[in-house]
Amino acid sequence: MSYITGVIERIRNLTKSIKEYEIFLEDCVKPEPGQFVMLWIPRIGEIPLSFADAEDNIIRFIVARVGRVTGYMHERLMAGDKVFIRGPLGRGFRWAPSGRALLVAGGYGLAPLHFLAKKLRAAGCGVKALLGFKSDDDVFYREEFERLGEVEISVEHGSSGYRGTVLDLFRNVIQGEIYDMVYVCGKEELNLAVMRECLIAGLPVEASFERRIRCGAGICGSCSIEPLGLRVCKDGPIFDGRMIMPMLGAERIEG
């Protein structure tokens, strides 16, 4: 599978360290929510990015400035520049178009959940999104999620919405409300904590995991979640809670 050429149509500043890239692709891709691409910038590098949105030839990525390649993207890429992608790669969410879904996002982990929410909404599912941020200045994509369903925001320092972590907000929400499915994407501690609570409560749950991805083809083994031997690029990046159970202190989970 060779690279598909993309042209950057628009770049939007979402926060001081997060940007949204809207890219026009020369060939159409049909990703499932949760899948990702390897985005290659010649002479700079290649990084995994999950789809925040995809419709016909237009795709959107949310890019936080975390390293060399994302730093280059933030500083140097402009509308009209070319990038190259290979994908869609990996296994996406196994979402079923029924019932009511709860989405839990930590920071820019909301990207794949946005694409998922869009698909769920189009399929007639009820969607509620819990979006967690550090401070008021870090909040983004609230309106985008509000178009797709209910939204609650948590900030650890500030005044927007719930005051605390998104994990605490999640715990409050599932005490009083009923959901058929939970989807989570954030730091690994958040993923594991939400998965653990869901499994204890008997709720189906899927999470999107992050690792350093190299070949993207499931052969190099760099992105393995150990000791399970699950490759984020091929077996994931979306994993069902039951697959991750051995990492969750399974002895405490019933059923």
Binding site: S2, M38, G45, G218, I219, G221, E226, G229
Partner: protein, 305 residues
């Protein structure tokens, strides 16, 4: 009775001839266990060096229509950290684990081999052929005397089998017999072949390292020729045939040429771990349909003119 796929390879007993090739998936216990569960006959680890190696920057892998190109840069946790994975593997994995060893000089090979043997590996494969990492692999293997010295030193500390993984350039009976004369128990032929790919759209090389190793179906005829020639001149040398094994037919082709076992590598990109079952079932079906009792009967069969 269903045909027997068990093979013997330099005193190693394999339940079937499909071995995970070096460089693929084998640097953690969890993945090694999955490869065992997938049905492999043995596992070769990624190449392990003395110190940890980060490897090259992305892109490190290119999926070409006729094969694959990679330049990972021998990323590995280093022997000290890898020993823990290896110990767990030695305790829990029943199929043979062959540790691939890399080094810049004789002393690095020896040091890594000592640790790997100590952690309980079943055999050693010497990486004398990686085509894209300066100071390692092919740069060592191109010096036949140095390679022979390394083989001799490793054999002096190892009672377990030692395989030399050779490049196509060294896959000649005269060179292989020098390796065997130096004590090698067998050879793994062949490694990937130095290659590069350039994107016409960006007008730049794709791999960050520019040069990588070519694998996949496009190198299979080269591997078949190498194995055939070695087997023709050296009837008793254990050979692991590697190159373009993407199903049971390709595996059988290398066996018919003279391989006792075959390495499965980049084909996992397209067929995933299910490829091991496909090879096993395909070989068994072929043997049954042609009335053979054991896969051993077919090693080098194509040479019976």
């Amino acid at each position: 009775m269903s045909p027997d796929l068990e093979v013997e390879l330099a005193r190693l007993r394999l339940r079937n001839p499909a071995i995970l090739a070096s460089g693929i998936l084998g640097s953690s216990y969890g993945l090694m266990r999955r490869v065992e569960e997938a049905g492999a006959g043995a596992i070769t680890t990624k190449t392990i060096t003395r110190e940890p190696r980060e490897g090259y920057l992305n892109p490190v892998f290119v999926d070409l229509e006729f094969g694959y190109l990679n330049a990972m840069g021998l990323p590995n946790p280093g022997i000290t950290a890898f020993k823990m994975e290896l110990r767990r593997a030695a305790e829990n994995i029943r199929i043979p684990v062959i540790v691939s060893i890399g080094g810049r000089d004789e002393s690095e090979f020896i040091e890594v081999a000592e640790q790997a043997l100590d952690a309980g590996c079943n055999a050693i494969e010497l990486n004398l052929s990686c085509p894209h990492v300066g100071g390692y692999g092919l740069e060592i293997g191109s010096d036949i005397r140095l390679a022979c010295n390394i083989i001799r030193s490793i054999k002096s500390i190892s009672s377990r089998p030692v395989f030399a993984k050779i490049s196509v350039y060294q896959a000649r009976p005269d060179i292989v017999s020098r390796y065997i004369g130096s004590g090698a128990d067998g050879v793994t032929a062949i490694n990937t072949i130095r290659a590069a790919a350039i994107s016409v759209e960006s007008m730049t090389p794709i791999l960050s390292n520019i040069f990588g190793g070519l694998s996949g179906p496009c190198i299979r005829p080269i591997a078949v020729a190498a194995v055939y020639e070695i087997r023709r001149e050296l009837p008793d040398v254990p050979i692991i045939g590697v190159g373009g094994v993407d199903g049971w037919r390709a595996a059988l082709e290398l066996i018919l040429a003279g391989a006792n076992a075959v390495g499965v590598g980049s084909a996992i990109a397209r067929k995933d771990l299910e490829i091991f079952r496909e090879i096993i079932e395909g070989l068994r079906g072929f043997l049954a349909s042609r009335g053979f009792k054991s896969i051993k009967e077919l090693v080098g069969y194509a040479q019976r003119l």
